[in-house]
Amino acid sequence: MSHTRRDFLKAALGASTLLSFASAAPNFLTRSVMAASSRRKERDTVLVVVQLTGGNDGLNTVVPYDDDEYGRNRSTLRLPTKDLHKIGSAMGFHPRMGAFARLYKDGFLSIVQGVGNPNPDRSHEGAMRIWHTADPVRLNRQTGWLGRAADSVWNPNTTNAPAVFVGPIAQPFALNAENVVVPSIRSLGDLTAGQIPGYPNDQSQSKHTSELPRSDKGNSLLDFLQHCTLNTYTNSRRIEEVAKTTANTAEYPSFQLAATFRTVAQLIRADVGIRIFFVEFGGGGIGGFDNHANQLGNHCALLHQLSESVAAFVHDLRRDKLLDRVLLMTFSEFGRTLKENGRRGTGHGSAAPVFLAGGRLKGGLIGPRPSLTDLDNGAPKFHTDFRRVYATVLDRWLGFESRIVLDKQFQPLDVLNV
């Protein structure tokens, strides 16, 4: 029983309504109210996972500018040191990532360096599959790590969707669950109840019928469905309210990614119990980050959009004092080769940095900077298993059990103030 549930009961029924039910109150209401008073507050933290599709060039995102190897291997792609946003340890953000640099300085952004896996695959499909299943060994594994996470917290009285994918492409495999239905949405309209034109009161009417007590015929399914129907219309109304009141107040740049983040922020604000959001950037398929030729301009635009969009999201949440509840993490299927390929592009690599953004970060650079001389097939080697990042967000942030999701316990990183 979260605050959300308590709020919804209050909002949907009102304290007096509940009292007036008295003896006639359906079982689930009595149970809910009792549970609300007895159980301690459940965690309401939110994880936002951002997939950078195509294999992001970590070396041109957070640039090791004083490393001679960087300059030597990147004759055309080398970013001028004077244009970088320097963050100490002789590292600097890409020139168009000023917003990330500011988040970093304010402590709202951390960089986990050298993240990868012990059985790297340099094909997009294979590498992405590994990040999605969190299983570098069983390559035909049929569930994704977030799908298993959603299944792991399901119980028979769950009525909120634990996770959603927000975006126009097919749902990424990370969310594939054995049991739970994880919805894909494009806009808030997919989570609000429509009305037959000309009948403005349709919704309140529907809520009305679902609120009425049913005599208990010993059918727990009906109880459950009634509870869920009530919750559904309450959530729908919350989302509508949020959409109405915040539509124009928060400032987001006019990128598709920013619009997606705005939708996520609105759903967080509506407080409808979604714990995991998944967002994709790069366009699905092979993805925009896959720059084998003429990388500079394209990569620049993508990083700028990412940086500005995430910053707008962070500021929006911060203004509403919601940032402390939110942790964002990025990932890409692999980094890229150190040496450029003669076509002003880079090849598929292995390790890459993961960005964390949120209000409860310890901040800074996490883990050593990967060496540019000790390489794995021409690309920086990983030192932090990606499943340690997953374990961090599952155990320390969401309060799930990562052991169930990842099959064994990986050591979480000490990056959060929780």
Partner: protein, 472 residues
């Protein structure tokens, strides 16, 4: 002027558990005996609707009325062995050159709506979830089409033949990553789900059994979408599986797993949850006679028939003890309203509700039950019902509840609501809930009594978004 439902339908008493009956329900002999209505357990509209919900995809008004006059067993005769030319119907549909998995989805939904043998489609859907194969990995619509056609042709025949066919089904082997099974490197990707999901169930076999079964299946390949057997890749040496020793082949493994009691039990249990009740049970004792009989011949029709004709099926143990899957929810709106809608659109909307035909999430199929339901899928059920009923948009004006009501002699603001409650819920609704449904107003005081189409649409939408309507 606002008018209400003419008179409250008496709340159906047939669902109340009679104490004497409750005791009998745990007695297998009584539970599985054919249901014969009597004063205590009358044959009602609710019972007829229940039967059509489980053995078909819902009923229209004529079917419900016919069932009421035929009685349960005669209605079941028709559902189990319809007189229509099923073969001709299936041939027509099988011949469509479909091209993509997306169009396969649409054709199958259309078939579910129009088939003269809905139980066959219901069971094909059951086997599609049992032998769950995801088209995203197979990437070959032709193979997917062949697989589901195969499942349909065996859906009410022999499980033995179905299992043997599935062990050589290219789509299944590709999906499981079992398209190459070499002597030097036995591939367990088919052998494991064979034992864990398709037959014995967890806990009824060992790792060693899986390894030995995988060796028995060596030599089978899928090359360029064709099944191939390469004799020199078959390991002909001695194996030991589930206590038996021999130079087994894949067919021997099928025979051996079907000889195990656990297999019949697991399948009867699964079909029980599909046809009768998913909330609890069944006790091993209750299903023991069915499992024993099923183990002899693996005759699926006989098993389904036993379940559907039983006292248990028509008892409170079964009534409303399932949650409608997305397909059942949507067709439960379409069938009663006697229209044929765009199933291309419907297939996509059902995918958004969590049931993407030809794309089950894992080899274990759709778990279903309460998992179908959360506030996101419920709001989408609401919106799908709205799209189906509103008379415009992607589904057009194919479903018009007022037209259907008029066709069956209910055209007034008083009789129409009563009719729709009987049509969709067989009158089984509590008086308070019924009274809270939207009122049906006369749109105008014209000579014809006014056009009720719009208010009736709204009324129908309010019915199918009730928690009660989500129950099967």
């Amino acid at each position: 002027m606002v008018l209400q439902i003419d008179k409250p339908p008496a709340h159906d008493q047939s669902k109340q558990i009679h104490p004497a009956v409750t005791e009998k329900l745990t007695d297998p002999a009584w539970a599985w005996a054919a249901y014969q209505p009597d004063a205590q357990r009358p044959w009602t509209l609710a019972q007829a609707g229940h039967l059509y919900q489980r053995a078909a995809f819902g009923a229209n008004w004529d079917q419900l009325q016919q069932a009421l006059s035929d009685g349960p067993q005669r209605t079941l005769d028709k559902l189990l062995r319809p007189q229509a030319d099923i073969a001709a119907f299936n041939r027509t549909y099988d011949e469509y050159d479909t091209g993509s998995a997306d169009s396969l989805r649409a054709w199958w939904l259309r078939r579910m709506i129009l088939t003269p043998h809905p139980l066959l489609e219901k069971m094909t859907l059951f086997w599609h979830s049992h032998f769950a194969t995801n088209s995203a990995n197979v990437k070959n619509a032709r193979l997917m089409q062949q697989q589901v056609q195969f499942l349909r042709s065996h859906a009410l025949n022999s499980y033995r033949a179905m299992l043997k066919g599935i062990s050589r089904d290219p789509a299944m082997l590709i999906w499981l990553g079992a398209e190459a099974n070499r002597k030097a490197r036995p591939n367990e990707n088919f052998a494991r789900p064979l034992m864990e999901t398709f037959t014995l169930g967890p806990g009824n076999f060992t790792e060693k059994d899986v390894q030995e079964a995988a060796r028995s299946f060596t030599g089978w390949f899928v090359l360029r979408s064709q099944l191939r057997y390469i004799p020199r890749e078959h390991d002909g040496n001695l194996k030991q599986i589930l206590g038996q020793k021999g130079n087994f082949t894949g067919d021997d493994v099928i025979r051996i797993v079907l000889e195990q009691r656990a297999t019949a039990q697991t399948l009867v249990h699964k079909l029980y949850r599909w046809l009768i009740c998913e909330t609890e049970g069944p006790d091993a004792e209750l299903i023991a006679p069915l499992a024993k009989s099923f183990a002899k011949d693996y005759d699926i029709l006989k098993l389904a028939e036993k379940m559907l004709r039983s006292n248990l099926f028509f008892s409170p143990v079964a009534y409303h003890r399932r949650i409608k899957s997305p397909v059942e929810f949507a067709l439960g709106i379409v069938k009663p309203l006697e229209g044929v809608i765009s199933t291309t659109q419907l297939a996509q909307d059902l995918a958004d509700l969590g049931q993407n035909l030809y794309y089950p999430p894992t080899v274990k199929g759709w778990t279903g039950g309460r998992h179908w339901i959360n506030s996101a899928t419920m709001v989408r059920r609401h919106n799908l019902a709205l799209a189906l009923l509103k008379g415009s948009g992607p589904y057009g004006d194919k479903l018009n509840p007022w037209t259907v009501a008029k066709k069956h002699g209910c055209s007034t603001p008083e009789s129409t609501p009563r009719f729709l409650i009987d049509l969709f819920l067989q009158g089984d609704i509590e008086p308070d809930v019924r009274d809270a449904l939207p009122k049906i107003a006369k749109a105008s005081a014209g000579a014809d009594g006014g056009d009720l189409a719009e208010p009736v649409r709204r009324f129908a939408h309010a019915i199918v978004t009730l928690p009660e309507f989500q129950l099967a």
